[in-house]
């Protein structure tokens, strides 16, 4: 339960009356602004004020005598003044008056944590939400939830900003205008409409939703379909899993969800699957994958990737091939043939040596290998991959199948087509759309924009007024998952409750509440609906409370089914690329996904993995393709498929197969809010319903240039050794090989052993000494740390223009280096933030001592003292300092103020800032430990980036404590300091990236080139 809604029930009636907003408001007599202060003085002279005070604030009333009146006013001024100044539609005044009796555990200034669930395209990710005095401020993974295990991604981290987005739909709107009576008017119209449908059994009544896994929503929809039996429910998600279910039908004769056990896989092969980078369950898969990437622990897994994009998974691979989907399928067929799978058809293949070695490697790990195909690949291809797993005996071991988590799995494209057809035939009388946006993301051939016009009663429900709401009669404001009750299933079927932390900021109602109203004609609170549903199925309210507390319903994961094997090869499923055309992959974006997060500034400004592109999408091609089509970065092209034509800027990047391109969905929003409108170009018009994620397109260069905002433009390591990479063999031959990659560390090992003619500038022999290790073998470059840091540390968004000229503010960044060229590239990630040098170059050059060292080894930035000479930034060899060139922080927008972490200063213009190692969290830990008179325990202080990291690549703690995890990591010979030859003695060190290539394939590759 959220603290604010948990009003104490046992408060005396008289006091509650005094707390009444009405009463206070009458006393204040509507006076606002400057005059208000005088009124308060006048008011305070009345005797009744004393009485009111006595009842309202017994603690302060003790001080209520003329002597202390001034103090009292000072104390109360702020909160009462806020009450007087309130002008928004829904700012409940009673909530800013302190609690008479505080809810249990609520201590002002102390954050509280609640478990909840974030639905991402219908699938739940269990979260822990941090709340400060009733304001949720930060989201992190819930370690009890199987889809998160405590990790998170950038979408999770940024979701909080969406809730506080000032551009959200706030009120019920009728034909684009604010409807004065709001919900009342809507319900009156709805009842009229539904009365008509009651007679016809719902003939012409249609519902359109996204993927739904929520049992409560399913119940509501079922009820609606029972009440109106002729009504039709369509569901469509642009990033859908239709092909997965089609594949399982081919292979098993049933629609099933595959669930992978990455932890058990010694050898993994991915065909275009971004297993650890996106899609349901990717956080879990990333965790399990990274757990097997530790060379010192042994048992490293090996990952082969053949893909048409340059994905997070591809960057993590030991061996990677850039192949178009049809070439991938050929490779898969060759592997299958080697493994004795009965495949028919042509035997031509690409990279026969790869097929042989991959097959041999897989065959050596029967039952402990895993082959995965992308969810967007053709059903026949995915089925073939199931067949390979079947042949390897992996089914039941590393891959199991469950009944789908989605209420209505698969067939979404057909479902949308059916709606489009019904609309075209004029059969749709009323259409209710929930959290979906067909005008924007439906394939162009379905022509929703024009077809919607014939509908009598069109209702769009969602967080934002979007492209579809413009064509609807009603737009109903939706609720964020932190505002309303709900439930959700995870990728493996685990159920959890969506628990709100705050009342809806605006007049939103959840889809559940509205659907229930449509189905039953009665209003019910989302809380009651969800609670009743789960108390009934769990048996008692204690289990319900337990589920809320844990954030997961115990043992609710779906049991694996034992499907019958029904596969036979149907021949190549992926069409060969057409010559002269570009084989374009249309893929979800790492930041805006399908466009839902387009208005989220944190996500727009997070550099997309690999390309570091911000605030844009582009036609991504590699060098060879660029020269074949005579294109260069910044050129504009018209890309045309059979479906439509789109104008896109070209960005030449790496890792994309020759003759192929990648364009990300979710951009070119025309109506969503101030942040997302006009960013990039929509590529939905290219989507062919028959193969939604792949299009064969013509490319025509057109006049004009486009400027991109990239956070990193130089990806060569220039022969330097701040990023160290090796193989398992290297490590086995010489455990100290990492140090030998650099003359200085070859001589001195870890940096603290290096001699210096100067005495050590600080005494680090006392107290905790904070240090960090980032394991580059585990880092997958997903951006979770960047956005988590932004949420935790109130880091502003600066916009495209400022990013383009190099003024992004991220305290932690993920550097990307490319090894090799073009398609055969290897990508390495290196998260870089303030390394907290023990001997910091920045400190020496500040003329006013605004950056100094703390006794616990932190390099601190004193914002108030900073003049902004920027010498520190120049003298930082790691270039991790960030300067407020303008007043970047939004000091005005009220809703954004609510999001801020109250323990972190919002920085002013002209002030330098940088990573603090989350000093506010360190302080919290120190205070807690001191109150309990004990040292700070290892693992008690967790930095925001560390907490967010889905692969646990970041370790933080006391390096003076020999038993701490971070000390153990620093003992490793993989540990090295970046630029430590400068004598900076960084507290943040790195573990070299160790790859596990197949020695035979590696040898083959050497002879090949």
């Amino acid at each position: 339960m959220s603290p604010i809604t948990d009003t104490p029930q046992n408060t005396p009636a008289s006091i509650r009356a005094a707390l009444d907003r009405q009463a206070v408001a009458e006393r204040l007599n509507g006076k606002t602004g400057r005059r208000f202060w005088r009124s308060l003085e006048e008011l305070s002279k009345e005797e009744s004020f004393g009485t009111m005070l006595q009842q309202e604030y017994p603690r302060f009333a003790a001080e209520w005598d003329p002597m202390h009146r001034r103090d009292f006013l000072r104390l109360m001024g702020a909160s009462l003044a806020l009450g007087g100044l309130t002008s928004c539609t829904r700012q409940p005044v009673e909530k800013i008056i302190p609690f008479v009796r505080q809810p249990e555990y609520l201590v002002p200034g102390k954050a509280m944590t609640y478990a909840t669930t974030m639905p991402v395209q219908g699938y739940g990710v269990g979260l822990l939400a941090t709340s400060h005095m009733g304001r949720p401020t930060k989201l992190d993974g819930n370690d009890l939830h199987p889809a998160s295990l405590g990790g998170s991604d950038s979408l999770v981290q940024a979701a909080i900003l969406t809730m506080y987005d000032p551009d959200r739909a706030k009120t019920v709107k009728f034909k684009g205008r604010t409807n004065v009576k709001g919900w009342k008017d809507f319900y009156a119209d709805l009842d009229k409409e539904m009365a008509g449908f009651a007679e016809t059994g719902g003939e012409g009544l249609h519902l359109l939703t996204g993927t739904i896994t929520s049992p409560s929503l399913a119940t509501a929809i079922e009820q609606a379909l029972e009440t109106y039996p002729k009504a039709v429910w369509h569901s469509y998600e642009p990033i859908n899993r239709d092909a997965v279910y089609a594949a399982t039908e081919q292979a098993f004769g049933a629609k099933l969800d595959p669930v992978y056990d990455v932890a058990k896989a010694d050898v993994m092969v991915s065909f275009d699957s971004d297993l650890i980078g996106s899609g349901p369950g990717h956080l879990r898969f990333a965790r399990d994958f990274a757990a097997r990437r530790n060379v010192e622990a042994g048992g490293m897994n090996r990952l082969y990737v053949a893909e048409s994009q340059m994905s997070i998974t591809g960057a993590a691979a030991d061996h990677r091939l850039a192949l178009t989907p049809d070439e991938q399928e050929k490779l898969a067929r060759a592997v299958a043939r080697e493994l004795g799978v009965a495949v028919n058809g042509a035997t031509d293949t690409v990279h026969a040596d790869w097929a042989k070695e991959i097959a041999a490697d897989l065959a050596a790990h029967r039952g402990s290998s895993l082959v995965v195909a992308g969810e967007h690949r053709a059903a026949g291809f995915q089925a073939l991959v199931f067949a390979i797993n079947h042949a390897l005996g992996n089914i039941g071991s590393t891959v199991s199948f469950i009944e789908p988590a989605a209420v209505r799995p698969g067939g979404q494209m057909e479902s949308l087509q059916a709606l489009s057809d019904a609309l075209g035939e004029g059969k749709v009388k009323a259409l209710f759309m929930f959290d979906t946006n067909p005008v924007y993301h439906a394939p162009a051939s379905m022509d929703f924009q024009n077809k919607l016009r014939g509908v009598n009663f069109l209702v769009q429900h969602g967080l934002f007024e979007d492209e579809s709401s413009e064509w609807c009669h009603y737009h109903l404001p939706g609720t964020h998952f932190l505002e309303a009750w709900g439930d959700c299933l995870a990728y493996d079927g685990t159920a959890s409750i969506v628990q709100p932390l705050i009342e809806p900021l605006y007049q939103g109602k959840s889809a559940l509440e509205i659907l229930h109203r449509i189905a039953t004609g009665k209003e019910a609170s989302g809380h009651d609906l969800v609670r009743n549903r789960w108390v009934k199925s769990l048996g008692d309210s204690l289990a319900w409370k337990r589920a809320l507390h844990d954030g997961v319903i115990a043992n609710s994961a779906a049991a694996p089914v034992q499907p019958g094997w029904a596969w036979s090869d149907t021949g190549p499923a992926e069409a060969p690329a057409q010559s002269g055309k570009l084989d374009l992959a249309l893929l979800p974006d790492y930041s805006v996904l399908d466009g839902f997060y387009a208005n989220n500034g944190w996500l727009q400004e997070a550099p997309r993995p690999i390309t570091t592109l911000t605030w844009d999408n582009a036609l991504l091609i590699s060098e060879e393709t660029a020269s074949a089509f005579d294109l260069a970065t910044g050129n504009l092209v018209e890309v045309g498929s059979g479906e439509g034509m789109v104008r896109l800027p070209v960005l030449v990047t790496v890792g994309i197969p020759e003759g192929a391109g990648v364009a990300h969905l979710g951009y070119g929003r025309t109506k969503v809010g101030r942040v997302g409108e006009g960013v990039g170009a929509s590529v939905y018009p290219l989507v062919d319903p028959a193969s939604p994620f792949r299009a064969s397109v013509s490319v025509t260069k057109v006049r004009g240039r486009h400027a991109f905002a990239l956070t990193q433009e130089h990806h060569s390591i220039e022969g330097r050794n701040h990023l160290r990479v090796g193989t398992v063999t290297d490590f086995q031959n010489d455990p100290q090989f990492v140090w030998k990659l650099d003359e200085y560390s070859a001589k001195y090992g870890r940096n603290e052993n290096a001699p210096s003619i100067y005495p050590h500038p600080h005494d680090y022999s006392q107290g905790p000494q904070w240090g960090m290790v980032i394991d580059l073998s585990a880092c997958i470059g997903c951006n979770a740390c960047m956005v988590a840091c932004q949420a935790e540390n109130n880091i502003p968004v600066v916009g495209k223009e400022q990013v383009a000229i190099g003024r992004e503010m991220h305290w932690i960044r993920v550097d990307r280096y490319y090894e090799g060229r073009s398609a055969k590239v290897e990508v390495h990630h290196q998260p870089m933030t303030c390394v907290h040098c023990e001997n910091a170059p920045c400190e020496a050059v500040c003329p006013v001592a605004a950056t100094v060292h703390s006794t616990d080894g932190l390099n601190q930035m004193v914002y108030n003292r900073c003049l902004g000479t920027r010498y520190c930034a120049n003298n930082c060899p790691y270039k991790v300092r960030r300067f407020n060139f303008y007043k970047f922080a939004d000091h005005e927008t009220p809703s954004l103020k609510l999001q801020r972490n109250p323990n972190v200063t919002v920085r002013a213009r002209g002030v330098m800032e940088k990573c603090t190692f989350c000093v506010q969290r360190i302080s919290e830990g120190r205070i807690k430990a001191r109150v309990q008179n004990r040292p700070i325990a290892d693992g008690e202080v967790v930095t925001a980036c560390q907490q967010a990291c889905p692969t646990q690549a970041i370790t933080f703690g006391d390096i003076r404590d020999p038993m701490s995890k971070v000390s153990a990591k620093k003992e490793s010979t993989l540990d090295y300091g970046v630029l430590s030859s400068l004598g900076t003695r960084p507290r943040l060190t790195y573990h070299a990236r160790i790859k596990n290539p197949n020695p035979r394939l590696a040898a083959a590759l050497v002879t090949e080139s």
């Binding site: 006013v848 001592a849 120049n874 003298n875 330098m912």
Partner: protein, 461 residues
């Protein structure tokens, strides 16, 4: 000093040739003081003044936008957090060096040819320091807190952090400005008294009277004056070296390849003198043509200034050579790349432009014909000023834009506000110079008379 026979012909200068034969005490005074005491200025000067004031006008918006919006209006970013402001600062301070050098060091070295150019060289110094001094204040993120640079007792109980060379800067520049102004004003007093005596307008007379601080030209005055002047010269001398050394240290104490260079202090001083003398030429060549001062600022002066420039040019060139040597000899990949990037990176033009302007073209000064040709020297001096500006551009920008980690490499592009402020300070400088030219004797009258006296005295021998 006056008792010293000038016939010993100090150094390489022949005293006789630095002043026209036909000058008398009267003609010198008449010629120099006529400019402040007549109400007109030559047309070309008025045109220059108009141009200068236009530039100054353009500074207005640049300043307003800067102060209202923040340093974001400039092209600076991460990694190039210093840009035009620091380049211009160092450039102006460098220009300001010639004044003190001419006034103090040449005085102590008895280079008497300095007398007809020292006044405006000093004036130039002060105005250059004014222009320079604006930049460190304006480049601050929060310029309204600039007083924190100074050590003063305060409730925060905070003092400047004296490990930072920026704190040394504050001391060095404020000292330099103070001593330069004192030196300049002390030198002016006898001449202001002359103007007072010759002024016919009562207001003007009163103003010059107040400024001359009761100078009567008595023997006691002269005696004390000479002592004070010599002492101030002595005080100024170390400053010539210290100020630009400390500016050199601003860069040299850092860890950035291209900044962390041990030869920076002397190399910066040499560069400063180089640019300062170039600016003296830029200003004196048109002046001697416009005001008919060719008899007092003779070709011999130009020749001597050119020789100083040639000498400092060679020192600077040695510095450039050493930087290349260090980059190679250090064996450091960062140093090596820094030098490579300067020569062949995206800002290659600035490096080769600097070599051309500061290294190659000034070699013309080996020829006496060039050294005594005012027109060639004028253009040469402008080339050198551009070269010295490019040198600071190379040091500040190309070192920062690609340092250690390639991930944070970036580019720097100045904005219209960068240019507006830079050109604005040029406007300010020229405006102040022309105003000073109009109201103050730009050639030291009494010192020229003294020179004349010595000349006559030596002729009698």
């Amino acid at each position: 000093m006056a008792s010293q026979p000038a016939s010993t012909a100090q150094g390489f200068v022949e005293v006789e040739t630095v002043l026209d034969e036909n000058h008398t005490y009267e003609s010198v005074t008449e010629k120099i003081s006529s400019l402040p005491l007549t109400p007109t200025l030559p047309k070309p000067v008025l045109v220059v003044l108009l141009f200068a004031m236009l530039l100054l006008l353009g500074m207005g918006p640049s300043l307003i936008f800067l102060l209202v919006e923040g340093t974001g209006v400039w092209g600076i970013n991460q990694p190039v957090a210093w840009g035009f402001a620091i380049i211009n600062f160092v450039w102006w301070i460098g220009i300001g060096h010639a004044g003190t050098l001419i006034s103090a060091i040449l005085l102590l070295l008895r280079q008497e040819w300095r007398t007809s150019i020292n006044r405006f060289a000093e004036t130039m110094t002060i105005f250059a320091v004014v222009c320079a001094g604006m930049f460190p204040l304006l480049h601050l993120g929060r310029p309204w807190l600039a007083h924190w640079f100074f050590p003063y007792p305060n409730v925060m109980q905070m003092w400047p952090q004296y490990r930072s060379p920026l704190s040394w800067d504050v001391a060095a520049i404020s000292t330099y400005a103070t001593v330069s102004i004192l030196f300049w004003f002390t030198g002016l007093i006898p001449d202001l008294a002359t103007l007072r005596d010759r002024a016919k307008n009562k207001v003007v007379k009163t103003l010059y009277g107040a400024a001359s601080m009761g100078w009567r030209g008595s023997a006691r005055h002269w005696q004390r004056y000479e002592v004070a002047y010599l002492l101030l010269a002595g005080l100024s001398t170390p400053l010539v070296v210290s100020v630009h050394s400390i500016i050199g240290l601003d860069f040299a104490v850092s860890v950035i390849p291209g900044w962390q260079v041990t030869i920076f202090p002397p190399y910066f001083v040499a560069g400063a003198i180089f640019s300062g003398f170039a600016m003296v030429l830029t200003l004196s060549i048109p002046l001697r043509a416009l005001f008919g001062w060719k008899d007092m600022i003779t070709l011999n002066h130009l020749n001597n200034i050119s020789k100083v420039m040639l000498a400092t040019c060679l020192m600077v060139l040695y510095g450039y050579g050493m930087e290349v040597f260090f980059a190679w000899y250090s064996g450091s990949v960062y140093e090596g790349y820094m030098k490579f990037n300067r020569m062949y990176g995206p800002y290659w033009w600035s490096y080769w432009g600097l070599i051309l302007c500061n290294g190659v073209i000034p070699q013309l000064l080996w020829f006496k014909k060039v050294r005594t040709s005012p027109i060639i020297l004028f253009f040469l001096s402008i080339v050198i000023n551009i070269g010295m500006w490019l040198e600071r551009f190379v040091i500040v920008i190309t070192s920062l834009h690609r340092d250690f980690l390639p991930s944070s490499w970036g580019m720097y592009t100045p904005t219209i506000f960068d240019w507006g402020l830079y050109l604005g300070t040029i406007g300010l400088f020229l405006t102040l110079m022309i105003v000073a030219l109009k109201i103050l004797p730009m050639i030291s009258q009494f010192e020229v008379r003294e020179l004349l006296h010595k000349k006559k005295h030596s002729n009698h021998h």
